[in-house]
């Protein structure tokens, strides 16, 4: 019930809302020596065209008196807030201004000791607004000016904050490909390696052995199986896998064993017969 009554009273009050006004509103910029570098009256209808620049040692002073327009008497409003707002980062700071019973308000913003309410700042100026609210009076909202202050540290971010945004891409850096010498160099050295064969072929003509028993049925199987062994090793390099080589090699080894034994014993027999 009393809420209803209160709202009814407020309704009545707002219909006859009284009007507040600011007397001699003014802002002053002081440098570190206390010298005035700028002093301007504040317009309640229009935002100051020139932004205010503060460096790290300057002080901004805002003064005004809140008065009841009707009676002309100073009054202390409930809400006298200065709002600093950075539109790009959405950071905001609210600084209440202390107002005396007589309505006199004074705020000093010393950049050497910036107040906690000043939001983290970047390149963009802070928009400065003044809000005044008092029961039974019409509230006042005034856009004062844009304020340039020195850069601050960015606001501390939560450790997980980064994972809520697009993360920088990472690309793996691969080891560079192995460098190979020119093929010509490889070919020359390959030629060097097979050069002794020319010498060997030359010497062959000097020795010119006669291979009379090469195709004898005692020797030929052993020579062929030896050849097969060499071919198997060669084929291993080109295409085969270890298991295949071991299997084929195992079979070949048994054949080799018997053909070899037979061939060698036949040669031994031949020599013995000759003697």
């Amino acid at each position: 019930m009393h809420v209803f009554v209160a709202s009814l009273l407020l309704l009545v009050a707002s219909v006859h809302a009284k009007i507040l006004t600011l007397q001699s509103p003014r802002f002053v910029v002081l440098d570190s020596q206390g010298q005035q570098s700028r002093s301007e009256p504040i317009s309640l209808t229009q935002k100051s065209r020139n932004p205010v620049f503060l460096n790290a040692t300057d002080t901004l002073k805002v003064t005004f008196q809140v008065v009841d327009k009707e009676s002309g008497e100073g009054t202390q409003p409930h809400q006298t807030f200065l709002r600093f707002y950075d539109a790009t980062t959405d950071e905001e700071g609210i600084q209440p201004i202390r107002v005396t019973q007589g309505g006199k308000a004074k705020l000093e913003l010393n950049m050497a000791r910036p107040p906690l309410s000043l939001p983290p700042t970047g390149d963009v100026p802070l928009q400065v607004m003044l809000y005044i609210g008092q029961p039974n009076f019409s509230p006042i909202a005034v856009e004062l000016f844009d304020l340039h202050v020195p850069h601050s540290q960015p606001p501390p971010a939560h450790p997980d904050e980064a994972s809520f945004h697009l993360l920088p891409e990472i690309h793996h850096i691969f080891r560079p490909d192995q460098k190979l010498p020119y093929k010509l160099v490889s070919a020359v050295f390959s030629g060097l390696v097979i050069a002794p064969w020319f010498l060997l072929v030359g010497l062959w003509s000097q020795v010119s052995p006669r291979l009379t028993h090469l195709f004898s049925p005692n020797v030929l199987p052993f020579i062929l199986s030896l050849g097969a062994y060499e071919f198997l090793v060669f084929y291993y390099w080109v295409d085969l896998k270890l298991g295949q080589v071991l299997l084929c090699g195992g079979v070949l080894a048994i054949i080799n064993l018997f053909t070899g034994k037979h061939a060698l014993s036949s040669i031994a027999k031949r020599r013995l017969n000759k003697d």
Binding site: Y131, P139, F189, L211, K274
Partner: protein
């Protein structure tokens, strides 16, 4: 005519049965039986959508929130902001464990200190001191100072655009920097927390000078704030229950302008109850480029193809449909740290499919394909698939290297030499040498 009406009703019932949450339809509403009628519009809206509401008095012992360790409801609404002590099964701890089992909560606070107020602190929310509601002198209006019209943000994913201002009364809370918080409705810049009457101007200045959270003022304060847990459950904290009430839904913002409360309440509930902004990864697959079969084992420097299928829940029909509108999905290939992090773009012509081809690092070990997509308001998409990346096997190295030609030649020479020597020795004649060293045939 009656038959036609019945048909219409049936059609309405059928249509409404489509609209379901992606995580279940049972809702427990904790509300004083006397006050139940205050929220008729909101609760009927939920019923129309197909939710199954159960009511419980804040002092009643049943129905239980969890029975035998299993949550009994998919969603819980707390419309008992003034209740100081709840029955033994409703404690801050039990609510946290409910969230762990993916139950969604809609919690309303008031300017009174309750056990839920202290729970809010665990969600990086700092409610204003007891007895100090959000008040505002702006705009000039006939309502009490603590009944504040707030314009919902136009950039929100959760709320529709161009919504009318909503009436709010209750406590504001300062928001921590926890990224799991999802601000839904913030206080207007000119509003602040203070006693409705008797609050002095000097106490506000003193509070601000204390620093920290001394003064609750400005648009950095939340009045309705969501929180999405790592388990995917959603909580909405509202500073006042009146926001959802019939009174505020019917209360006009100005002459002839309806308030946005009714719509706002439904949209907040549809976010909280996993209807809107719900995504999921249906499946992922990976294979070597130019093949189609997936493998557990890849070789270093292989060209790999990774594909993910993403769906979104559409509450109007209650169905999951492929969703291709994620522009900033990223894939990581990690072994402890990400070795590769690249964009995972949608594939044109294949709805819901995201695919990328990349070369595996030339480093062996156990790697993971990781999707870790977290955006405020949306369901977090998490996927991790483990594969091994091994060095080439002994037979996978190149066999014919030009630099090794001399070695090949040497080996082949040796083999051929051995074979020729064997053949000549086995098949040749034995020559006897005389003492002069001149070769002569033995026979």
């Amino acid at each position: 005519m009656v038959a036609f009406k019945r048909l219409l009703l049936l059609a309405a019932a059928f249509a409404s049965s489509y609209a379901k949450s992606s995580s279940g339809d049972s809702v427990l509403v904790i509300v004083e039986p006397k006050k139940q009628a205050d929220y008729t519009l909101f609760l009927d809206g939920l019923r129309e959508k197909g939710y199954d509401l159960t009511f419980r008095s804040p002092r009643a012992d049943a129905p239980l929130l969890t029975q035998d360790g299993v949550p009994s409801f998919s969603h819980v609404i707390f419309f008992a902001p003034d209740t100081k002590s709840f029955p033994s099964d409703i404690t801050p701890q039990s609510l946290v464990s409910l969230l762990g089992s993916k139950t969604n909560l809609l919690i309303t606070l008031s300017t009174k200190q309750t056990s839920l107020t202290s729970l809010a602190a665990e969600f990086s929310l700092a409610p204003a001191p007891p007895g100090t509601p959000l008040i505002s002198y702006f705009p000039e209006r006939s309502e009490p100072l603590n009944v504040v019209p707030i314009q919902p943000p136009s950039t929100s994913h959760i709320l529709s655009q161009n919504m009318a201002p909503v009436w709010f009364s209750g406590t504001p809370f300062a928001l921590g920097n926890n990224p799991m918080l999802v601000p839904i409705l913030n206080a207007p810049p000119y509003a602040f927390a203070s006693e409705v009457d008797g609050g002095s101007a000097d106490s506000l200045v003193d509070a601000a000078e204390k620093g920290g959270e001394g003064l609750w003022a400005g648009s950095r304060m939340g009045v309705v704030t969501g929180f999405q847990t790592t388990t995917g459950a959603r909580v909405v904290w509202a500073g006042g229950a009146e926001l959802f009430s019939d009174e505020y839904a019917k209360k006009q913002i100005s002459q002839g302008v309806e308030s946005g409360n009714k719509q706002f309440a439904q949209e907040v509930a549809s976010w909280a109850f996993q209807e809107s902004l719900v995504l999921r990864i249906d499946h992922t697959e990976h294979h070597k480029f130019n093949t189609t079969t997936p493998s557990e084992l890849y070789t270093t420097s292989d060209e790999l193809v990774y594909t993910a299928q993403v769906s979104r829940f559409y509450p109007e029909r209650g169905v999951w449909k492929p969703y291709s509108d994620l522009k900033d999905l990223q894939l990581e290939f990690t072994m402890l740290d990400p070795h590769i992090r690249i964009a995972l773009p949608p594939v044109e012509g294949k709805p819901g499919t995201y695919s990328v081809q990349f070369r595996a690092p030339d480093r062996h070990g156990v790697f993971k394909f990781v999707i870790n997509y977290k955006r405020k308001g949306f369901t977090h998409l998490l996927s991790s698939t483990t594969v091994s990346v091994v060095p080439p096997r002994h037979d996978e190295y190149p066999r014919f290297i030009s630099a090794a030609w001399p070695y090949y030649m040497g080996a082949i020479s040796t083999s051929v030499g051995f074979f020729l020597f064997s053949a000549i020795w086995l098949g040749g004649e034995v020559k006897a040498f005389d003492k002069k060293g001149k070769g002569r045939k033995a026979e």
